[in-house]
């Protein structure tokens, strides 16, 4: 999709506006009712930056505790290695159920596993719509915000779901997916936070798809980018609470705390992909709540076209740089600073965007 077609696409604009209004109101209320969240944000940012200051130590510690728990730990320095490792674990001709995960988008996992001949199901409703439409997530939390009821209904017909309104669509998708959960060979999830103290993998969600995807199949793979490591359980819990409050659902319907259990192969793929060596270290404290995307005046018009291949908006510009992709669209940023103000971690994205501009200019890319 080109920038010009996006700007004139009212569905994207209205979807972002609606999501911003709904979630913005919820976030405001969460912060008013739960004043400790600001303090939690500070604790989490400090801890994440401490971990980022010595990733070698923390990755080693996390891997060790996971192995002691009975998990099989795999280390991947880049996205290619990560998806190949997942391919080796899962194999071919399998049914795979997936929770929504940005790291899996980052490493192109679904497409890769499909190419190997697996049947891969996105189980989050919004992400399923995106998968079936062969689209990409518009927003980290609300991937299908740019689909109307009618369009969602049309897309879902591809899997035999025939419904007139969201209620009926939900009821029928539940039936289709229930059968997939019960018969899946493998489940895949991302990770919102992992404790280096106990190896507990924390995942928040509202639909219940992550709980089913990670506890029913005999093989479970957790994708963990190194920025999700927190020193202990309490900090990991604080991190998911901050993320939930800022993404607009507090408390989240479900808090999953995954550990290896009897009868399930529990794999963890720890993924670096540009993080340990980056000069954009502050961004590694990001909890991916998507606030900065919705509040960004450029994103409000351009959607995820303003961003990188995977992540849109201000966070997307910096995350793309971490992944080695410097986007010339950074010059469209107004430097209004709103992203930093609404960020739970108060990450100085405008400063990093200036730095990306400087790098591009020095490389004569503009």
């Amino acid at each position: 999709m080109s920038l010009y077609s996006t700007v004139s696409n009212m569905l994207i604009r209205e979807g972002i506006k609606r999501t911003r209004t709904n979630l913005g109101r919820a976030v405001k209320e969460n912060l008013e009712r739960h004043s400790y969240l600001r303090k939690y944000s500070e604790d989490v940012k400090r801890a994440k930056l401490e971990v980022a200051g010595d990733y070698d130590y923390w990755i080693d510690r996390t891997a060790r505790v996971l192995e002691e728990n009975g998990a099989e730990v795999h280390l991947a320095e880049n996205g290619k290695k990560a998806r190949e490792l997942c391919g080796e674990i899962i194999g071919r001709g399998k049914v795979v159920v997936k929770g929504k995960s940005m790291i899996s988008e980052e490493i192109g996992l679904r497409e890769y596993l499909e190419r190997l001949g697996n049947e891969v199901w996105e189980t989050d409703l919004g992400e399923l719509i995106i998968q079936l439409a062969d689209d990409r997530p518009m927003h980290v939390i609300a991937p299908a915000l740019h689909y109307t009821k009618e369009e969602a209904a049309k897309v879902l017909k591809k899997v035999g779901v025939d419904g007139r309104d969201p209620e009926e669509l939900v009821r029928k998708v539940r039936q289709v997916m229930r059968e997939k959960f019960l018969n899946a060979d493998a489940g895949i999830s991302g990770c919102n936070a992992i404790s280096a103290e106990t190896g507990r993998v924390f995942l928040v969600e509202n639909e219940g798809n992550i709980r089913l995807s990670t506890s029913l199949p005999k093989i479970y793979v957790a994708l963990i980018s190194v920025d999700k490591i927190l020193p202990d359980d309490v900090l990991a819990l604080k991190s998911i609470l901050v993320q939930s409050a800022f993404l607009g659902t507090y408390p989240p319907s479900y808090i999953n705390v995954n550990l290896p259990v009897e009868g399930q192969e529990f794999h963890v793929v720890i993924i670096d992909n540009g993080r340990t060596g980056t000069e954009f270290r502050e961004q590694l404290s990001c909890v991916k709540c998507g606030r900065c995307q919705l509040e960004c005046p450029v994103f409000q018009l351009a959607g995820n076209v303003w961003g990188g291949r995977v992540y849109g908006g201000p966070m997307g510009m910096v995350w793309s740089a971490i992944l080695g992709e410097l986007r010339k669209e950074v010059f469209m940023c107004t430097l209004c600073g709103k992203c930093r103000v609404v960020c739970p971690m108060e990450i100085d994205m405008p400063e990093m965007i200036r730095k990306i501009r400087k790098m591009l200019l020095e490389m004569n890319q503009i």
Binding site: L169, V170, N209, R211, V234, K238, S253, V257
Partner: protein
């Protein structure tokens, strides 16, 4: 107590208050019955434990949770610490399963329980 009931309701939970929560729980035929390991008073987060409990409660259409007075803690972090002391596998279910992925319209019963009921112990009944 009244505040916690309000928070549960705000989270989309049906609340029943009883002197004998276990007896009341037995009256919900066909529902999955669990007992809370701990509950956070300020958020309504409900921790439960055990691997089978996790799967069975996720698959149920109706999940009923007994909350004893003594498991109520001031906040989510304290509730988590309490729960992990009691069980190795812990998890929290704080509302019925829900989604707002189509035009932001909130719909209950996506993949997990369509209904979540809490039976809260109150000695006064």
């Amino acid at each position: 107590m009244r505040e916690l009931i309000e928070i549960f309701r705000k989270n989309g939970i049906d609340v029943v208050v009883s002197k004998n929560p276990e007896i009341v729980a037995g009256q919900f035929e066909g529902a999955k019955i669990s007992t809370a390991l701990s509950v956070a008073k300020d958020t309504g987060v409900i921790f439960m434990g055990g691997e089978r409990e996790r799967v069975e409660s996720a698959l149920a259409d109706h999940h009923v949770v007994v909350v004893k007075r003594e498991v109520i803690r001031s906040d989510t972090v304290s509730a988590f610490i309490e729960a992990e002391k009691k069980e190795r596998i812990v998890f929290a279910s704080n509302s019925p399963s829900k989604t707002a992925d189509i035009e932001g319209e909130l719909i209950f019963g996506m993949h997990g329980p369509k209904k979540l009921t809490v039976i809260l112990e109150d000695p006064e009944g």
